[in-house]
Amino acid sequence: MDKTDTSSQDSDWLYEIKAEKPLFDFNFKEIWRYRDLLILFVKRDIVTVYKQTVLGPLWFLIQPLFTSVIFTLVFNNVANIQTGTVPSFLFNLAGITAWTYFKECLTGTSGTFTKNAGIFGKVYFPRVIMPMSVTISNLLKLAIQLSIFTGFYIYFVASGKPISPNTNLFLFPVYVFIMGATGLGLGMILSAMTTKYRDFTVLIGFGVQLLMYISAVPFPMTEILEKKPEYFWVFKYNPLAQIIEGFRYMTLDTGLFTWWGFFYALGFSIVVFFVGLAIFNRTEKSFIDTV
């Protein structure tokens, strides 16, 4: 441990605990010092999910697969929603994979303060490590789920289905960033709110469910444009619908894509991320008194 500078003059304090805190107190140096903790939290999140299970990490795959099967059955076969030349199953799998990442980031981070009150109430470490670890561990889950998506993709191509990605695929990392940042930002805002008003935990529970439907996950946006054009604005101005549609557009070359929608979603995610970070910072200093 470095004890080198403790002997020098009065002015060089290591840090100060104060009542006030700047709006953006993002101490990279400190977070870097706690990088091992971040890694261990990610590991914990991944590993503990399948401890004492038989199927283990397979569960990460079963979830999106089964949901896609049900969606195909309900929306495409029963409700007769058309997905063009793209196989409905693959269409749903794409939407669900993207949506799951956003949803897990949102719900995972929204409980940061309430779920970890026990630890936070006793030890200090940069609180932002918690939501960061959630986002990273979800990134790993996304990778696993993308691999199964790719597997089915190859299968459908091999069986002669006319599907191919388009040039937008180079935007893939940007889309992942948008989804993560939006989920993390909204999650941090909600986590701060829930510390004082538990109303929000109830809201998140069913809100996320409803949000999925107005984010065009189980159907293409064109479907709305054809059948209910007067409600199209809901989807147009919903950044999540833009993300999901854009994700399907680049991987399956289907759906509506506009650069306006892309930059709208990107801008939204950046704003939400910084607003979330600021609110999170404000909350972390004394949330333990209200949680």
Partner: protein, 423 residues
């Protein structure tokens, strides 16, 4: 080295809101926000009652801490003592950055790590070894630092056999041992310790205290130690702070602090001496002036240690030819009767004020509080009984470092002699 200030607290105050969070809080939040928009001070900072649980609250806000100032020098072992609710834990929470003060600031030159209720962040599904890494990282160690100490930690915890078993299968004692082992191998510049001695069995306590001594003594590290265990405070700390109702009531050497703390308790709790009113014995042939208990060679109200001889004195008067006797009934904290004693001699006829003394040998009472009833009998008939007329607290004698500091069972703990023969 001693004059080097490593941590300084200036005007630390902490305000808490009483009651529950509901619509009322929302309106206060809005008021606060409105005040800040107009550039005014928080309107609720002006109100707030003193932190005294016995009084009924008049406002919705309470000051858990108020204007705390102190400095800690490099290498100090600072004992923070105070009754329950005096603000010790709040102060520790602020020091360990778990919550921030309402006003004031703390500046520090070293990294602070706390042992507030060890074992936080243990994940039940992870194995002991995995939890060592996770817990160590939560407490601020890097992976490399933990790796170096891994074997030492496992050794210290005494859980080597179970180290690759999920922690959920551990007994609560094992969990605590493992957690303390991790925490004890931290190497922060300032260590905050809160009541860790309350856990574990005798053998483990001995280890823990020994480790604490190593940390503070040999390594010369700065330690802030919060405890109710005066024996531990006395043997570990170099300086002390006594908190009372959220304020610093006393600051100074450890012995003075402990004495102050014990006397503070006496003012409200223990009653070492009781004077009777004349009216209580009107028309009787005898009179009790006072009854009191103290350690031999000390004053009334001084703390009574286990190694003190005890004296209980009764000042009385009786008229000639009146035949009377007294007896003292001892009870423990829960009101269980322990024993009754009365003089085995006849109280002689004198017409002047008299004093009668009961001597209790040292090492007789265990640490704890005791209540005494005074009974007056005459011709084998009970004349008067004064229940709980005095009460006193016996505290543990100074224990050598590494010794057992907890409380053994039972209200009495006499020292008997033992012998061994060959049969």
């Amino acid at each position: 080295m001693k004059d080097n200030i490593i941590l300084t607290a200036q005007n630390i105050s902490k305000q808490y809101r009483l009651g529950v969070v509901g619509t009322g809080t929302l309106s206060h939040d809005l008021n606060r926000w409105w005040a800040s928009v107009r550039g005014k001070d928080d309107p609720y900072l002006k109100v707030g009652a003193e932190n005294d649980r016995s009084k009924k609250a008049e406002t919705d806000y309470v000051w858990a801490l108020r204007d705390i100032n102190f400095d800690v020098h490099d290498g100090d072992v600072l004992g923070i003592i105070g009754k329950n609710g005096a603000g010790k834990s709040t102060l520790l929470k602020i020091l360990s950055r778990v919550t921030s003060p309402t006003t004031g600031s703390i500046k520090t030159k070293g990294r602070i790590a706390s042992l507030l209720e060890v074992g936080t962040g243990f994940h039940p599904e992870l194995t002991g070894r995995e939890n060592i890494y996770l817990n160590g990282a939560i407490l601020g160690m890097t992976k490399a630092e933990i790796k170096v100490k891994e074997e030492e930690i496992i050794d210290f915890s005494g859980c080597a056999m179970y180290i690759d078993t999920p922690v959920k299968r551990y007994s609560s004692g094992m969990r605590v041992r493992l957690a303390f082992a991790v925490a004890a191998h931290l190497e922060p510049d300032i260590l905050v310790v809160d009541e860790v001695l309350a856990v574990g069995d005798a053998e483990f306590q001995k280890k823990a205290i020994g480790k604490m001594k190593d940390i503070s003594g040999n390594d010369g590290r700065t330690v802030l130690f919060v405890s109710h265990n005066m024996a531990a405070v006395k043997s570990l700390c170099t300086r002390g702070i006594v908190l009372e109702n959220g304020k610093i009531a006393f600051e100074g050497g450890t012995d003075e602090c402990v004495d102050y703390y014990l006397k503070m308790g006496n003012e409200k709790g223990a009653e070492y001496q009781r004077f009777f009113k004349e009216s209580e014995f009107e028309g009787k042939d005898f009179r009790i002036y006072s009854i009191g208990v103290k350690a031999k060679g000390k004053k009334f109200g001084d703390p009574i240690l286990r190694d003190d001889h005890l004296e209980i004195m009764v000042n009385y008067y009786k008229s000639n030819n009146y035949d009377f006797n007294i007896s003292l009934r001892f009870k423990d904290e829960q009101g269980n009767f322990l024993f009754v004693v009365s003089p085995d001699f006849i109280i002689t006829d004198t017409d002047i004020k008299n004093i009668i003394v009961l001597n209790v040998p040292n090492y007789f009472f265990n640490q704890g509080s005791f209540f005494v009833d005074l009974q007056i009998t005459s011709k084998k008939k009970l004349i008067n009984r004064f229940e709980d007329i005095i009460n006193f607290t016996v505290i543990q004698e100074h224990v050598k470092l590494g010794g057992w500091m907890g409380k053994t069972v039972g209200p009495l703990k006499p020292r008997f002699s033992w012998e061994q023969y060959e049969s």
